[in-house]
Amino acid sequence: MERVAVIGVGQTKYSAGMRETFHELVFDVATKALKDAGITIKDIDNVVSVSSDFWDGRTISSMAISDASGAFGKDISTVEGDGTFGVLYGMMRILSGSFGTTMVVAHHKGTESNMNGITNTSFDPLVERKLGLDAVSSAALQARRYMTTSGGSEEQFAMVSVKNHGNAMNNPFAMLPMEITVEDVMASRMLATPIKKLDCSPVTDGAAAVVLAAERNAKKFTTNKKRVWLNGVGHCSDAYRLGDRDLADTRALKQAAKMAYDMAGVTLDDIDVAEVYDAFSYMEPMWLEGLGFCEDGMGPEMTERGTFNMDGALPVNPSGGRLSANPVQVAGLAALIECVLQIRGEAGKRQVKKAEKALAHGINGMCGQSHCVWILGK
C-alpha cells in the first residue's frame, strides 16, 4: 500500500472571542499549512473540511468556507466530527488513487454559540434530549462511573488538569497556560459532581489545517525532515445511547488502538509521546487505559505517580491538551499537529527528546462514543 505523509501544518493560536470570521480563520491556517509544506494552492487537488453545521449556525457549513480553504475549482467534502476523522477521510481519498494531495482543514468558534444547547441536540430527540443532558452533565455521569470502577479520586483527576495546564505554559498556541494546584482545581466551581470548572476544557475558537500527500508527492514536494508519515490508524465506535454502554468500558478505544498499532507495526514501547483526548480531566487516565498504556483501573494511580508527566515514561499532552484549548472538531487535528511538530523536533520548549513515534487520539460523540487513533512516525 502506498504511504501517506503529513507535509504541512498550520494552526491559529487558540483563544476565546476571536474577531476573525470562519473564513478568515480557515484562510489563515490553510495558507500557513501550504507555506509550511513549501507548496502553493495549485498543488492541492482536493479539500476535506471538518465542521459542524449546528456550531456554525448554517447548514452545509463546508460550502461556506470552500473559497477560504482553496477548494475553488476543486472538490471539497466534509467530515462532521473530530479532526482525526477528517484526516482519516483525507488519507482514504488519497489511498483510493483519486487524489494526490489533500488539504484537511477544521474550524470552530465555540464562543459564538451555546455549548450546552448544541451538545444537548446530540441526544436522541425521541428519548434523552428532553431531559436536558449536555456534554458536561453526561461527562459527569461517565466520570462517576469511572471512579466507581477504577477507584480513582477527584484529586487524581485534578492532577491531570494541573499537568496539562502546566504543559501549556510551553505551548504558544494554547489558550489556557496556567500554573495551578490540585487545591485550585478542587476549589473551582462545582458544575456537575464530580466535575468542577477546572476539570473542564474551555470554550475555544480556532482553526487548524494539514496537508496530506501520497508518497510520490510527499517526496517530490518536501524534505525528509519536514514530512511525517501516517504509519497507522484505527477507528471504532460504541453504542449511541449512554445507557446501552458501560460508560467506563473503553472497548471501542481498545479496538481502535489495536487496529492502529497493528497497521503501524508498533508496540506500546515504541511510542514516545501521546496526545490523548482530555476534554475533561478524568478522560485522560481512562483513555490511557483504553490505549493500553495502563491496566484497566490503573490510570488514576499511574497519573499520580507521574508516569505521564513531561519527565515521565510517556509524556502525554505536551501541548496542554484539550484542557488548555478545546476548539471542538479542530481538537483532534491540533493533537495530530502537535505529534507532527514533536516528530520534526519543532515543539520548542515542550519538545520530547527523541520523539520518533507519536500517538494522536480523537473522539466523536458523547462520552467518547467513537475513537480515532493515529500513529505517526519519521
Binding site: 474577531r19 449556525g57 450546552n116 444547547g117 444537548n120 430527540p125 425521541l126 428519548v127 434523552e128 428532553k130 431531559l131 436536558g132 443532558l133 449536555d134 458536561v136 452533565s137 459527569a140 455521569l141 461517565q142 466520570a143 462517576r144 462511573r145 466507581t148 466551581r189 462545582m190 458544575l191 456537575a192 459532581t193 464530580p194 466535575i195 453504542a239 445511547r241 449512554l242 445507557g243 446501552d244 460508560l247
Partner: protein, 154 residues
C-alpha cells in the same frame, strides 16, 4: 500593512435559528411510550439471539443485529449505576432548577441502563448502588418525562 484592521469597528450580528421538526417516533418506541402513557408501565424488549434486554427498547440488538419482537414488562425498580448532581443552571434545557440529579439506572429485569432524573432524596444522599423505583407523572403525554423521576426505595 494591515494596520486598518486594528482601527475598524467590529460588528456582531446576534442570531437565532428556529426550525420546527416533527420526528416520527417509530413503531418500537411508539409502543413503549403508549404503554408508559396509558398504563404507567415500563416495558423492555429482548434479543431473540443473545437474550439481552433493552430499555428503552431497541429496533435491533446492537450486538446481534437481530429484530426485537419479544416484549417484557419491567417492575420499574433498579439500581443507580452512576449519577451526577448538577449545580449549573441552563434554564432553556434543564427540567429543574439546580441542584438536581441525573442518574443511569440499571433496571431490574433489563441489561441496559435508563438515563433519568433522581429525586425525592437530598441530592447529597444519592449513592452508586442505591435502590430506586420509577415515579410516574400524574399527567402523561407519551414522553420520557411520563416517568417523573426515580426515587429511593424506602
Amino acid at each position: 500593512m494591515a494596520g486598518w484592521k486594528d482601527e475598524v469597528e467590529e460588528i456582531i450580528f446576534p442570531g437565532k435559528i428556529c426550525v420546527p421538526y416533527s420526528w416520527t417516533v417509530g413503531s418500537t418506541l411508539s409502543k413503549w411510550y403508549v404503554q408508559l402513557r396509558d398504563d404507567g408501565e415500563i416495558w423492555a424488549n429482548r434479543c431473540p439471539s443473545c437474550g439481552k434486554v433493552y430499555v428503552p427498547p431497541k429496533i435491533k440488538c446492537i450486538d446481534c443485529y437481530k429484530d426485537m419482537n419479544d416484549w417484557i414488562k419491567l417492575p420499574g425498580t433498579g439500581t443507580v449505576e452512576t449519577y451526577t448532581v448538577v449545580h449549573y443552571s441552563e434554564p432553556g434545557l434543564h427540567p429543574k432548577k439546580p441542584p438536581f440529579v441525573y442518574g443511569v439506572i440499571k433496571m431490574d429485569g433489563a441489561d441496559t441502563g435508563l438515563v433519568h432524573l433522581i429525586d425525592g432524596v437530598d441530592p447529597d444522599k444519592v449513592k452508586v448502588g442505591m435502590r430506586v423505583q420509577a415515579v410516574m407523572a400524574k399527567e402523561r403525554d407519551g414522553h420520557i418525562t411520563d416517568i417523573k423521576h426515580f426515587k429511593p426505595i424506602a
